[in-house]
């Protein structure tokens, strides 16, 4: 741990690492400060102006942009702060397409959370709401939709694609009140360079970028993604006896909360009717189901007949390092040949 810094938030004593910002330190200590544009994986930008706190006896600073300092006294709510947050939120909610029940952000909506925290007055919002036609939802991507009517232009998706994915598929278009998020030339997602990794979707604080099949799950199971040798940590969401969602493990050092398109969205095979659940052996030109013992015995006997340089092993990048090690060991020690190769070498 870097040098510890001691200070207080609403009178509670906090110890945080030097260099950390007040907002992250608060969250680490389970203290909620409203915020919509901040994500711990991204550089702070101070855009939503909701995370304002008072320090030094009344000076308002944005907690996402302000590093922790020894001895400061942070106040997370005051009449001034509340008024400012409420005014910003009223305007924001008035431009937001509020169909919470049908919204795919479901219980994960930061906008709803902030609005509830502040206790917004619906009557006042009615006055402000401009009569604007809804814009079309982009449903072109096979895994997620983009609903611009719900977008709050926090920029988390743009920054995720830039800072984490390094692709830059998303950007800001136009400016001021007319600013929207979109792809180059405002094309549908499917026609853009987007790789559908879903990193932006997983970080969207509202229902603007949302999976096509969002699920509130019964429980989650921690495991490792089976797709490749990287070994990303995932949580499989389970409902009944079905796996219905995948969530990246933020604590796993391999992926630190990131996933690729396959790991995040490619879990349909698990419950797919074409999936092989038993080994098949070709008998009389036809594949027929067999028991594992029979299949393994058959492989063992054929391997025994094929020892020496007539044998070669080609390993897969889908296997872990440990599996790959075992394959070369098996090939050399058991099969007696150095004919070992790996698809990732090509």
């Amino acid at each position: 741990m870097r040098k510890p810094v001691y200070f207080t938030i609403d009178g509670q004593e906090i110890c945080a690492e030097k260099g950390m910002n007040i907002l992250d330190a608060a969250q680490d200590n389970d203290i909620y400060i409203p915020h919509l544009c901040h994500h711990p994986d991204l550089k702070p930008v101070g855009a939503c102006r909701l995370c304002g706190v008072e320090i030094d006896g009344g000076r308002m600073v944005m907690s996402c942009m302000t590093p922790v300092q020894d001895g400061i006294q942070v106040i997370t709510d005051s009449p001034t702060i509340h008024q400012s947050r409420t005014a910003i939120m009223e305007m924001l909610v008035a431009t937001h397409h509020m169909d919470c029940l049908a919204c795919k952000a479901a219980t994960d909506c930061e906008l709803l959370k902030t609005a509830s925290y502040l206790g917004l007055d619906v009557e006042r919002l009615a006055d402000l709401r401009p009569a604007l036609p809804l814009r079309p939802v982009d449903r072109s991507n096979p895994f997620f939709n983009f609903d611009p009517n719900k977008c709050i232009v926090c920029g988390i998706c743009v920054r995720t694609c830039d800072e984490i994915v390094g692709l830059g598929a998303l950007g800001y278009i136009e400016r001021g009140y007319h600013t929207v998020i979109g792809t180059f030339d405002d094309k549908p997602f499917v026609d853009s360079i987007c790789e559908s990794c879903g990193e932006c979707v997983s970080r969207c604080p509202v229902g603007a970028l949302a999976p096509k099949r969002p699920e509130v799950v019964a429980r989650e199971v921690e495991t490792t993604c089976v797709y490749c040798g990287v070994g990303c940590g995932i949580y499989l969401g389970v409902k009944g006896d079905q796996i219905v969602s995948v969530r990246a493990d933020r604590e796993r050092p391999t992926n630190e909360g990131s996933l690729c398109v396959k790991g995040r969205y490619g879990f349909n095979f698990i419950n797919h009717r074409d999936r092989l659940t038993k080994p098949l052996i070709k008998k009389n030109g036809q594949f027929v189901e067999a028991e594992w013992d029979e299949a393994l015995e058959m492989v063992a006997s054929k391997f025994t007949e094929s020892k020496g340089d007539q044998f070669a092993a080609l390993a897969s990048a889908k296997c872990t390092n440990e599996d790959n090690y075992l394959i070369q060991k098996f090939t050399r020690a058991v099969m007696g040949t150095n004919n070992v190769d790996h698809c990732a070498r090509l």
Binding site: C37, R49, G52, M60, Q83, S84, E174, T183, F184
Partner: protein
Amino acid sequence: MEVEFDTLLSEFEGRQDEIIPILHKAQGVYRHISADSMAKIAQFTHVPESQVYGVATFYSQFHLEPQGSQHIMVCRGSVCRMQGGNRYLEKLEAHLGIKAGETTPDGRYSLEVVECLGLCDQAPSALVNGVPVRIDLDVHPQSWLEGPVEIPLGTLGGEPRWLTGRCGAIDPTDLQDFHNKDGFVGFRKTLEQSPAEVIAEIERSGLSGRGGAAFPTGLKWRYTAGAPANPKYIICNADESEPGTFKDRVLIEGDPFSIIEGMLIAGYAIGAPQGYIYIRGEYPRPTTILQQAIEAAYAAGYLGQDILGRGFDFDLEIRSGAGAYICGEETALFESIEGQRGMPRSKPPFPTTNGLFDKPTMINNVETLCTAAWIMAHGAEAYRSVGTENSPGTKLFCLSGDVQNPGVYETPFGIPMQDLLALAGGQRGEIQAILLGGAAGAFAKPDQLDLPMSFEGLKQAGLPLGSGVVLVINTEKDLREILLSLALFFAHESCGKCFPCRLGTRYQLQIIQKVLAGDSTPGDIDKLKEIGNTMMKASFCGLGQTAASAILSALKLWPEVFIGIPEREGVSA
């Protein structure tokens, strides 16, 4: 297309900071920027296509649809609106059969509305293919379009004319003329002193920034000179874009060498080998004049390597904005030069340590740099001989609206407002209000005409001096229309980065439109106040923090204006 895109790119190197110059070039050749062009620019400059698209759509002067061979930009800034510019726009629309933002089917004309062209002394104004013209309300659009008359430099007055003495008196791009009128005297004296002595002289003069914020110039120079990183940059902020402000335009058009001299002095003092002049896109004529002056200065050995044989190297480059007021905010300006959308950065770190390209950067307004050149020629003592103790020297004031002779007037700080108006021939009609400090300023009442025009004098009365805007509004004008023009301006110019400004400027406009229609309720006015106060307190940068200041000041002075006055004929948003 006649010109292959690759040929167009051949004069560039593929750096990211060339994106905006390339977009300008492409639009100049093809009259618009196509998706294909943007993709090629992205590939050439090694950035994602979405970034180039984001830049092209951020700046209002970049067009993704083809523009006409005659591109007409009509100003609807506060002063032009007061003088009937928007009514003429309706006439133009009817005549051409297109709305603003459209192009005639034959590709001959395209029409664009601009929030401010910086021609407030010539209002109502327009740019026709880059040529600044005054709109004659009584002339039929066709004959006006066929024979637009280029407007002159503009009215200048006041005493002493330290900064504006050469304006109008010399051929602005003739270096010899400039020499004959004491040109480069300040720079030559500078070269005889150490950089530290130069900075000390500027500090002694008490010069403060003329862009509106009035930060002590010498201090800024000292901080930048003392920053450890290299190279250092200096930037001249020529992005004045606020309704009512046009003094820098007059200085650039009238005495461009003086700006170059100021930059040379600053470059020498700070140890910066490179300077940029960031000039707003609505200033094509000033840009041309400045470019000619820079070329002449290079030819005469005042720019480049080993200047005047004294071992001092300094290069100077112009960067054109493309229609974004926010780029006058220093960090947004850096972003713009670097080829990004003009969205401000957080401070700290400050430009003096982390500015352009993350290097120590000294950024000064046009008038500030010209003043620095004068101070180095005549000395800090001479400079302090006029003005007040806390606001020494002279100031350029932009008088516009209902005065007899709108123009730029140079006087010592502290001149009573009524004396300033007298210089411009006095007011036209009876004064209703005076907008001080520009769109981001505040209103003064007619009984405040004896106020001294100095930073501290106005501050005592709760008013800003800002960049020196004095916009006079007589009793024949509907104040609500001025408020509407201000609300439109900020709603159009907000960059959209922070929530309070992005949303607040829009709702402020929505409520002012209700005020204008006579539909506003007391609840609306409460909301207007609340939104204004929130923008002021919570916005990310100076634009949002001041976007409500003039409207809130009007609300304080004339609350009756905001409630229940039925709509007047001919008034439209």
